[in-house]
């Protein structure tokens, strides 16, 4: 299992490079991960999405772009503005949940 240093802590990563151990996530880590992938400062809207995807992941729901755009409080345009080029991937990474699933 790979690991990297964030804020002086060693963070364990899964096979896709996403957070492996959910207990290692906190808001400080989220902020650091956001800086790492050049998302920058997290605004209230960023947090709406992060909170939403964490909640859905906990409930075992498979996340889709559509669900985030309809239920997080941020619409599709907004979602792309907050997390450019690959919003679901980036939001999942910062939120400390696994990479969104796809088939092939």
């Amino acid at each position: 299992m790979a690991a990297k240093e964030i804020n002086g802590k060693s963070i364990e990563l899964d096979g896709d490079g996403y957070l492996a151990d959910p207990s290692q996530w906190d808001e400080e880590l989220a902020k650091a991960l956001a800086q790492e992938i050049a998302i920058g400062e997290l605004t209230d809207d960023h947090w709406k999405v992060i909170t939403y995807v964490r909640k859905e992941h906990e409930a075992g729901t498979a996340l889709t772009m559509r669900k985030v755009a309809k239920q997080s409080g941020v619409d599709m345009k907004g979602f792309y503005q907050l997390f450019p080029d690959g919003p679901l991937k980036k939001a999942s990474y910062i939120a400390g949940i696994p990479k969104p699933k796809s088939c092939v």
Binding site: G15, T64, M65, Y80, D85, P87, K101, S102, C103, V104
Partner: protein
């Protein structure tokens, strides 16, 4: 008399009615199957229609030819299901009461989700190949097309047969090469996914395919609208892509009666237990195939692998037992890659497509995650197996659960 009602006589419904009919005691059980269309479509064949490889008789046959005598066949639209009253209300207010219900009504395209899709250029320069009309219209168009920018776009996930758009663009590469106009065609694959292939092993083994075939890729693209006047597609983050020919896979949704019944998710798919195949909210309703909200692919092979599990679990439920069989999300897909070759992938909920041989280790004859001629033959021969074996509920000589036998982890 106890009643089993099956909604949908497509791949899943037809397979199940053929499996269940000989097993359920005819003196105790009345089986009814409902569908609104008389014609059964071999949907995997639609891919070959635009390229003039399959004709109508290859992909269309009457549904009734595959339904057993002794089963009541009702050709009607469904208005709604009333799960709390164990009944289905058909069009014209006919009522079908049930003890057990199997929902197998599949997924369909909804063209209205993408603004501008059905505008001026619809079926003139914008086509789909997931419907029979669309596939044949595109066939006519391609006979005379002299080249330009061909964009293949997936509107959003999930779609039925997630590899079909890739197969389409691979076949297009072959088709235009055969016609000697490949340099006049700019092939562009535009997907909302992060890549053409997203799983590690598949990406490792097939990742360079698009480059090799001179096909451009734009990933992470969520289409917002189509500008018919300027002939371009526009994404939610305002990226514009010009086209001369747009082949689209629009949003896939479950049948609208599911929404009318209050039974579906945001895309009208029915929340279903991913292992037992029972509807999450109703103990006497099972869901199979594309109509379910499972995290597996939407594909005929998935329905086939579900069929044994569903059979066991439905019979368990009828006997008052908890469903004992577990579906593992097994899917198995031939990916046509053009020039007489294809790729085979075999995977389930837990395991990504891995390389190796299928179904027999070492022997195959099909190779996983590799382009081979055998895989292409497999795809083409499958049409015979579909009409003559699969639909009749007969077993194919491969296990329902995904097996690691023959695979290289």
């Amino acid at each position: 008399m106890k009643r089993l009602v099956i909604l949908g006589a497509g791949t899943a419904g037809t397979m199940m009615v053929n499996k269940l009919f000989p097993v359920l005691d005819r003196d105790q059980w009345e089986i009814t199957i409902v569908d609104q269309h008389e014609q059964h479509y071999y949907q995997p064949g639609f891919l070959f229609v635009p390229f003039d490889i399959y004709s109508r008789k290859d992909v269309v046959k009457p549904k009734r030819d595959f339904l057993p005598k002794g089963v009541a066949v009702v050709m009607s639209k469904i208005d709604r299901v009333e799960p709390d009253r164990n009944r289905v209300i058909l069009e014209h207010n006919n009522v079908l009461a049930y003890d057990y219900l199997l929902i197998a009504t599949g997924a369909k395209l909804t063209f209205e989700e993408t603004e501008g899709l059905t505008g001026e250029l619809w079926r003139k320069k914008i086509f789909d190949f997931y419907t029979i009309e669309g596939a044949f219209a595109l066939c006519e168009f391609l006979k005379h097309w002299e080249g330009g920018k061909l964009v293949v776009n997936i509107a959003e996930m999930p779609i039925k047969c997630p590899v079909a758009p890739l197969e389409f663009i691979f076949l297009a590469d072959w088709f235009f090469t055969e016609r000697g106009i490949r340099e006049k065609v700019d092939l562009h694959y535009v997907t909302p996914l992060p890549g053409a292939f997203t799983k590690p092993r598949a990406t490792e083994m097939l990742g360079d395919m698009l480059d090799r075939k001179n096909i451009r890729l734009t990933a992470d693209y969520s289409i917002s609208s189509i500008d018919n006047e300027k002939q371009k597609i526009v994404s939610y983050d305002e990226k514009e892509i010009d086209f001369d020919l747009l082949v689209t896979v629009p949003t896939n949704v479950g049948d609208p009666y599911i929404e009318r019944s209050g039974m579906g998710d945001d895309l009208n798919f029915v929340p279903t237990d991913k292992h037992t195949l029972r509807a999450k909210e109703h103990e006497n309703i099972f869901v199979m195939g594309d109509a379910a909200d499972l995290p597996s692919s939407k594909a005929g092979s998935v329905a086939h692998f579900q069929s044994d599990i569903l059979m066991e679990n439905l019979l368990d439920a009828i006997e008052g037992k908890e469903p004992g069989a577990q579906f593992d999300g097994h899917a198995n897909c031939f990916i046509e890659s053009g020039f007489g070759k294809g790729i085979l992938i075999d995977f389930n909920y837990e395991t990504e497509p891995l390389p190796g041989k299928y179904p027999l280790p070492g022997i195959g004859p099909f190779s996983l995650l590799q382009e081979t001629r055998w895989n292409h033959y497999g795809k083409m021969m499958f049409r015979w197996a579909y009409w003559n074996v699969l639909l009749k509920g007969l077993a194919l000589p491969v296990p329902s659960q995904m097996s690691m036998v023959g695979k290289k982890a």
